[in-house]
Each structure stands twice: as C-alpha cells, then as structure tokens.
C-alpha cells in the first residue's frame, strides 16, 4: 500500500460525494455523458494512478487503485474508471509512456470485425483491440457503434470496424494479457461491489430508522434486524476480502485469491440486494428511489470479470493438480497435512 492511499481515498470520497449524485446518474441513464464528473476524475489524476511518473503517470500502486474503485462503486459513479486505468497501464507497459485519454481495452473474438461488450464505447475516444497478432489502437470516431447495456444501464456496446489499423506486437502473449485483464477486471468488480454494498447498507439503515410501522421504527423489529445483519455481515466480509486480495494482487497467490474473492462477493450480492429490497418494500422498487442505482450495479457486476461458475471451474482445475491440502494453501504453510485421511 502506498503512503498516499488514505489521502487519495479521502479526496476521492469527497469529490464523488459531491459530484456523483442521484440526479446526475439519472441524467446519465437518459443518455448524457457526464463530462463534468469525468473531467474532475481526470484532473485529479485518478486515470493515471499506479503508473510511474517517468511513464506519464502519477505513481501509486494497485492497492490504491482498488481502494479508489471501491469508492466509485460506493457512489455508483457512471464512469469507466476501472477500464480506462487498465488501458492506460497497458499502453504505459507496452510503449513506455502514456498520455491520458478516454480509452478502454477489448479482446478480439476472432472475426476481427466486431467487438462485443465494449464498456462505454459510445463515449470513449479509442479502443485498444488485443488479438493473437498483437494490439491495435482503434479510433472510435470512425466506427459503427450499436448501443447495448448491462443490467445497470452501463454501456456495453458493440463496435463494428470496417477499416484496417496498424497492429503492434506485444511483449506478452495474448493468453497472458487476457488472464491479466480477467484477474484485474474481477478484482475491480469486487472492489466496486464492496462499495455498492456499503451504500445499500447505508440506505437500508437510514430507511429502517426513518420509516415507522405499527408505531415503531422498522429497525426495532427482529425480522428487520435479521436483514440489517445479513447486509452488514456481507459488507464487512467483502471489505475484508478486498483488503486481503488487493494486498496480494502482485503476488503468486493472486489468481487463487482473486478467484475466491470474486466467487464470494458475487455470491453475496443477492444476500445484500434481496435483504435491502425486502426492507425497503414498495418504495425500493420504484425508479424514483435511489436503491436500484446500487442493486442493479451489484447484479450487473457479479457477472463481469467471471461469475461464480467461471471462477469455481478455475479453482477446481487448480485443486486437482495441486499437491497441497486446502489447509496448507489457506495458511500458506506447507508441511504435514491436516486432513483426517493422511494418518496410518
């Protein structure tokens, strides 16, 4: 963790609290790109976080990045910060230097003509298209873009390319880059889901104190207390999981921890969303109430960067080939196996 983590966490929190409001998110959903918000994020240097200064970045590390992404989730900021950060990192690594731009990466599916699920394509300047052959930087002003969206109305567009662009070679294989991106995207979504859970819990606490029925505030009822605890528990679990996994992001254990983190937090999305909607009852299922800005994002993000099925498949493959017991791995201490069957 870099020393500036708590400082940038605080300033980002302040910034997004003021700027990423319910009204603004509603405007975004009606088709407006919120330039003021993106400009503020760019000006604060967040889009270049984790990139060395001699490469055009502002310093910091991945723990800082995931800490910031948690806050963007907490305020449901309608911006592709996670994706832009990765694209900037990619270019800084490949070309030694990067100039900040609204850009994202996407992996070619084979046809070479069409890219699916490109985050925010209708608003970004360029897409870095990664294929077996290398990478190319495609300017989106000359492409056909079909609007698509995820459950939270975040753009996940289809991009059709009808022209040739120079392909540059990469210093890693396609598979390596794809794995690196998948890991990053998964942990980004874990961070953002953690933040969104915090807001769902906060809204629920507020409503349970404000709303009265049978002459008492909702939180006085034991049935409601169960909902509050379920949300608090999963929010705390997500936070601890995020903290542990971010700290291990550049270590050998990263892949397996990311897999577990994504399984865990995705699984618990609906524990939180379901409890919150039940607690809010009718008002929580209206467009007017803010709750769905967070619950729809939770439902969208649990699918992105690999859902529980994707990651448990990965882990099962590791378990079959690994020589360690579960306990040896969890504790990161090899040696005498702790399972029952290993004795004489």
């Amino acid at each position: 963790m870099s020393e500036m983590k708590s400082f940038i966490e605080e300033t980002t929190e302040k910034m997004l609290k003021d700027l990423s409001t319910k009204e603004l998110r509603e405007r975004f959903e009606k088709g407006e790109w919120i330039k003021s918000l993106w400009d503020a994020i760019q000006e604060s240097g967040l889009t270049l976080l984790g990139i060395n200064e001699d490469q055009g970045g502002v310093g910091g590390d991945f723990e800082d990045i995931f800490a910031i992404l948690r806050i963007t989730g907490k305020y449901a900021a309608p911006v592709p910060l996670a994706e832009v950060l990765y694209a900037n990192h990619f270019l800084a690594n490949q070309e030694g230097e990067v100039k900040d731009k609204l850009r994202v990466v996407q992996f070619e599916d084979g046809s070479g003509k069409e890219l699916k699920s490109v985050p925010y394509a209708r608003y970004v300047e360029e897409v870095i298209v990664i294929s077996d052959a290398g990478y190319k930087v495609v300017n989106l002003s000359r492409t056909e873009i079909v609007h698509k969206e995820n459950l939270a109305a975040e753009p996940r567009d289809t991009v059709r390319m009808s022209f040739q662009t120079e392909i540059k070679s990469m210093d890693s294989s396609y598979e390596e880059v794809l794995e690196d991106y998948t890991n990053y995207l998964a942990l980004s979504r874990v961070a953002m889901m953690t933040g969104a859970m915090e807001s769902v819990l906060a809204l629920s606490i507020f409503y349970s104190k404000e709303r009265q029925q049978f002459g008492r505030a909702l939180h006085k009822f034991q049935a409601i207390q169960h909902h509050l605890t379920a949300m608090a528990g999963e929010t705390a679990a997500a936070y601890a999981t995020l903290a542990a996994t971010s700290a291990a992001y550049k270590t050998e254990a990263a892949k397996e921890q990311i897999a577990m983190a994504k399984i865990e937090v995705s699984t618990n999305v609906n524990v939180v969303a379901k409890a919150a909607h039940q607690l809010h009852a009718g008002i929580g299922m209206t467009y007017e109430h803010e709750l769905h800005h967070f619950t729809r994002r939770l439902w969208a993000w649990r699918e992105e960067g690999g859902n529980e099925t994707y990651w448990s498949d990965q882990l099962a493959k590791i378990y079959v080939t690994r020589k360690e017991s579960i306990w040896e791995w969890i504790t990161n201490v090899k040696g005498a196996q702790a399972h029952a069957g290993s004795t004489i």
Partner: protein
Amino acid sequence: MRQLQLPAFSFTDKQRKFRQEVRSFLQTEKELGTFKTHADSWLSGYSSEFSRKIGEQGWIGITFPKKYGGQARSSIDRYIVTEELLAIGAPVAAHWFADRQSGPLLLKFGTEEQKDYFIPKIIKGECYFSIGLSEPNSGSDLASLKTTATKVDGGWIVNGMKTWTSGAHHSHYMITLCRTSPQDSNFRHGGMSQLIISLKSKGVSIRPIQYLTGEHHFNEVFLENVFVPDNRVVGEIGNGWAQGMTELAFERSGPERILSTFPLLEEATKIMVEQGDHRGLMEVSKLVSRMWSLRNMSIGIASLLENNKDVGLAAALVKDLGNSFEQRVAEVIRLLLSTLPDKHSTDEYSRLLAECILHGPGFTLRGGTTEILRGIVAKGVVSV
C-alpha cells in the same frame, strides 16, 4: 462504516514457522495414536492427557505473562495454535475455556493470589474451568438470572442452578455469574458478580444433560448453600456482567466459529481430488472461498484486538456468519459424496459427516444465539 472495515493481515515468516512447528507436533501425535480427528473437537474432544502435552509445549495460555509460567506471546500466536488444533480436530475441550476465557479473565481482574494459584496450573494443562452462565429460566435473557450469593462472614453462600455447563463433570472450577444484589429493573446489568466455585465443594451436584447423540458434554450444576470464600471473588462485587463481557470479542470472532466442521471439508476434498471429481471440487471451491473470506475477517479482528481496538460489532458478525458456514459445510458436502453418515463408522468421511450433521444445531446456539447476535449487530449499525 469504520466498524465494518477490517484490515488485511499477513503472517510474518516467524509466525509461519511457528505454525509449521505446531502442525508437525500435532501430526506426529496423531500418527502416534494420541488422538483421532473429530469435528467440533472443542466441545466433544476431551483428553486431559492431550491437554497436558499441549501444556508441556507451552501452548496453553501462550499469551499469559512469563511470571506465571506463560510465554507472553502475541494473540496472533495464540490464533495460530488454536487454528491448527481445530483444523486437525484435536481433543482440546478439557483446557478450552481456561485458555480462552478464565485465564484472561483472572489476569485482567483477579487478585495476585488468584493469579499465582490458578494461572500456572492452567498453563500446564492441569486445571480446567467451566463457565456458569445460563440458567433454566435465563437463556438468551441472561441478565434475568436467579442464582444468588449472600454475604456471610468470610465469604458468600451461593444458591441456584446453572445449565448447559460444558465440561462441568471434568472441570475443577466454574466461574459463576450470580446475583449479589437484588434484581433492579432500571439497571439490568448491575448487581452481578463472578465467583470461582470449586466443583468439589460441598453443596455442588452435577447432573448430565445428554446431547441429542447421547454424548455427555453439557451439565446441570446445582448449587445448594455452597460456601465461596472472599478470596474467590473475581474482580469487583457488582461488576460481574461488565467483566464477563470483556472477552466476548475474542470468544465470538475466533477460529472456533468457523472451523468446527473443517475436518470434514478437508477429508471430502481429499477424496474428490483422488477421484478427479471436477464438479464436486467446483462446489468445494465455493465453501473454501467462504471460509477464506470469514478467516480474513477473523484475523483482521485478531490484529485489531492485539492493539486493544473495540471490535464487538464485527466479532458478532463473524460468529453469525461463521456458524452458518459451519452448518452449511455438511449440507453441501453430503450431496457431493453420498454415503450413509454413521458416527461409529471406521470410514473417516462417514464418521465426520455424521458428527458435523449431529453437532450442527449447537453451533448457532452456543455463545450467543443467532437471534441475539443479530440484535446486537442491528443495534450497533443503527446507532452509528
């Protein structure tokens, strides 16, 4: 909400080396036949012989000061020992409460004479404590308890009854929460005191409460005119409730709230790996992810406790989530590897599955029921 934000903690190389040492010792003991792996071994695994061996290693009361024979090591080291003992399902019930609760309580509130007398014996694994809290009419509503201690010359006369007292039939002492002033509805948590009752005292009678398997772990303890000398009062008269609550965060967030069924998970995984059962291992990975996540919380709390932070709310959450997880392990595993669960089976898997299912109901009751914990958490979060 800061109280829900637990830090990441990583063990140092020295701590990992220590874990290795503990694990090797336990593995060797197991291979020598000293003990057999059981689920929920901190309730069901009683062996004074084993407790003495653990005591010889210096692993009981490992955090206790050196002047009483302890090692003065960190609570992280205690965490490591506890985890290793539970993961291998070792019989730790005899010394469990003395190590976890009674020893720390005496060190915090006890007199010098009490510390000198009890702590070295606890550390050696020779002196066992039970905790006298619940009564027939005071379960979750513990503050309504009726057992009374009346002042007499040189001590107190105790009358009443305790129930669900784990291990009272083996233990030497019971730290008994009783009423030393009349009940006051305006001050529900006042007027109670903690007394150390020798379970060999005249007037103490212990009757087994058979667990639903027929096993004997719990007891009713009847107290009829039991004399307790003044020097066996813990801390201040009237401060018993507050004293008893101080160790709750340790108790509620420890590995024993997550690992009670771990031996089953490990055994089942081993079988599935041997069989190349990919679908089964996918389900296992979800359980392991949950366990890892809860463990991150639990260790995060342990590291904050080491720095004397207030983590009561997060600790209650770990217990609630951990206990549900412990129960879920058996429910998921039984469908992945079908067998007839049999607690007398010579097949480890079948036996552990039976133990996990049959011991399940207790997980979400002991040490504060799910309902009580959720009330604590809800009150905590709405008051922030």
